[in-house]
């Protein structure tokens, strides 16, 4: 082998690492380092000596698991988690159910106006969560809402959508509205990837479109359903923008409505970054446990069905 050839193969060997350098540096700086720092902070606390005046009076010391035990016994955090769990139990099934339904219908034969409806249902994806919450927030306000106008004309009772139980529905509706389109596209794409021959046999056997949808299409797009479910769980547990935006419109959304809002309040409102870090770590762990638990359960079921 000549020396130039060796140098060239050296270049080929080094190239991928050089190409991946920017991503690696960014990952280290803006993903790995912050996570490590959050974990470190979660085991620290500030100790105040004397009156807390003068330099050296406030000292950062090791806290062990104190921040974690505090967070886990904090009823505000627990209540926030329960609220978000209830919210998620509405959002995820409704959003993905609608996404699957719309995707199947777009994929069915002889459906009219499919390009228009596909784009219209996808449109909310392009609208920021804050603006979506603002728009719906106004639609929930009796003074300006068309719903209340209609209810008023019909002489029907007008519920307060921004309080109590309806508040969950009001918030869920914003998330469903914003998320259905994107998930529909993901499911629809994998429906399109199914080769037409697969249906031919079923059609010859006289299967109805409904039977084809239930027996062939849904099982074949199961992997993308699992994936959309997985990401929806993660996104739902992180809910922050929508309740934060609705907060100025109603007194029913507290500053600690969702666990994330509580982290924000503790870190920046109360200035207790140590407690906030511990809570953030707990939320992240809970999210990963729930989402991966779901993924494992789904995979196990798939394997069982394949083995059958």
């Amino acid at each position: 082998m000549t020396s130039t050839a060796r140098r060239k193969s050296y270049g080929v060997k080094g190239a991928p690492y050089a190409f991946l350098l920017p991503a690696t540096i960014l990952f280290a700086l803006f993903f790995a380092l912050p996570i490590g720092y959050a974990i470190w902070l979660s085991f620290r606390k500030v100790q105040v000596s004397g009156l807390g005046l003068g330099s050296g009076a406030r000292k950062e010391v090791w806290a062990g698991l104190e921040n974690y035990t505090d967070a886990l016994s904090d009823s505000e955090l627990l209540n926030g988690a329960l609220r978000v769990l209830g919210y998620g139990c509405i959002v995820v099934p409704v959003m993905l159910g609608l996404a699957l339904l719309f995707a199947l219908m777009l994929d069915s034969e002889k459906v009219r106006l499919a390009p228009f409806t596909r784009l219209a249902i996808f449109l909310p994806y392009a609208i920021p969560g804050v603006v979506a919450a603002l728009l719906w927030g106004f639609l929930y306000l009796p003074d300006v809402s068309p719903f209340y106008f209609v209810l008023d004309k019909l002489g029907l009772p007008q519920p307060d959508l921004l309080d109590g139980g309806p508040l969950y529905l009001a918030l869920s509706n914003i998330a469903v509205w914003g998320g259905t389109g994107f998930n529909m596209i993901v499911i629809y794409t994998s429906l399109q990837a199914i080769p037409a021959e697969v249906y031919e046999a079923a059609k010859l056997d006289g299967a109805t479109p409904l039977q084809i949808a239930l027996r062939i299409k849904i099982p074949m797009v199961a992997p993308s359903l699992v994936l959309t479910f997985f990401f929806s769980i993660i996104a739902t547990l992180q809910v922050f923008n929508e309740p934060t935006t609705l907060k100025p419109l109603t007194n029913s959304v507290s500053t600690t409505w969702s666990p994330l809002m509580k982290v924000y309040r503790d870190a920046f409102g109360e200035g207790d970054i140590y407690a906030a870090a511990a809570q953030a770590v707990i939320i992240a762990l809970a999210t990963l446990v729930l989402s991966f638990g779901f993924l494992r359960a789904a995979n196990r079921r798939n394997k069982q069905e394949a083995a059958r």
């Binding site: 991946l20 991503a23 106004f138 794409t189 994998s190 010859l204």
Partner: protein, 301 residues
């Protein structure tokens, strides 16, 4: 039975009994999906239609006339909004365009070079690097944003344009999509042939692979553009100077002030309407030569 149905059923007649019922049945079923999809479209368009109409109403019309009746105050609302605090609204719009445009461009550059490397080279640690980068998708923004703020504060970078721009350059999803597109669009023998001709690796990437990946990269750019434009949590945590706010944060502060002052409602509504326009326009324009399906990593061979 109509002649149409007979004619349609004719080829199947004799082979499978009962197909004569097929066509009308299928036609009836196609009506259900069409109507359901139209209802879905109506649901998705309703708030948008509302904000378009509401933005045309003057302050008094907003509370007195029927919701879906256009008003007469659009130009007035527009000038009120532009006059609000010396046009800070347009500053927010410009900031959002800067964050999203520059951020998405840098993000696409990093994603393309990383995706290309992961797709075309075989090297030690390839899957490990890919998996670690992908794990970034799973990291809840909260566990990132708070320590990111504290770390950037130590570098004296909080409340700056960079504090919003830098953390959003690496997009794990963008790297993932770029890898898929590069694997599908850049044939290994083309790369090998260029290598034989003596082109160095960087030249092969910029001159040969990159042009082939463009359709996929448009998707990566759009995805990241939307992600940055719609982001609220990061600027909410990083920024305190409202001259640097993106539009999401600006509208939020406007809402905070305006929620109890109905006089500010028209500003908010007009502001929300204008904030929706750029992205909707972008998607409508791009739709002509780009497929939504690319967003989920679909690659046509």
């Amino acid at each position: 039975m109509s002649s149409l149905a007979l004619r349609k059923a004719a080829p199947a007649a004799g082979t499978t009994p009962g197909t004569a019922q097929g066509p009308p049945l299928r036609r009836r079923i196609a009506l259900v999906p069409t109507v359901a999809l139209l209802l879905g479209a109506l649901y998705c368009l309703l708030p948008v239609a509302w904000v378009v109409i509401a933005s045309t109403k003057s302050g008094s019309e907003l509370f007195s006339t029927f919701t879906f009746l256009p008003g007469t105050g659009f130009t007035e609302n527009l000038s009120d909004l532009s006059a609000y605090r010396d046009g800070v609204y347009w500053q927010w719009m410009g900031n959002s365009a800067l964050y999203a445009g520059l951020g998405a461009l840098l993000s696409t550059a990093v994603s393309s070079v990383s995706g290309y490397a992961l797709a075309t080279y075989r090297f030690r640690g390839r899957e490990a690097i890919f998996n670690v980068l992908l794990a970034g998708v799973l990291m809840p923004p909260v566990i990132l944003a708070v320590p990111q703020y504290l770390l950037l504060a130590q570098a004296n970078l909080t409340d700056s344009y960079l504090s919003v721009l830098l953390p959003q350059i690496l997009s794990p999803y963008g790297v993932y999509l770029s890898r898929i597109y590069a694997a599908a669009a850049v044939p290994a023998d083309v790369v090998e042939a260029a290598r034989m001709d003596g082109a160095n690796e960087w030249r092969i990437f910029t001159r040969i692979a990159l042009p082939m990946m463009i359709p996929g990269l448009v998707t990566v750019f759009l995805f990241q553009f939307v992600a940055v434009w719609n982001n609220f949590l990061l600027p909410f945590i990083m920024l305190s100077d409202d001259e640097k706010f993106p539009i999401t944060l600006g509208l939020y502060t406007l809402l905070e002030q305006g929620a109890n002052t109905p006089a500010l409602y028209t500003l908010l509504i007009t502001g929300a309407f204008l904030a929706v326009l750029p992205l909707v326009a972008l998607f409508l324009v791009v739709q002509r030569f780009w497929s939504l399906d690319l967003l989920s990593g679909a690659v046509k061979s």
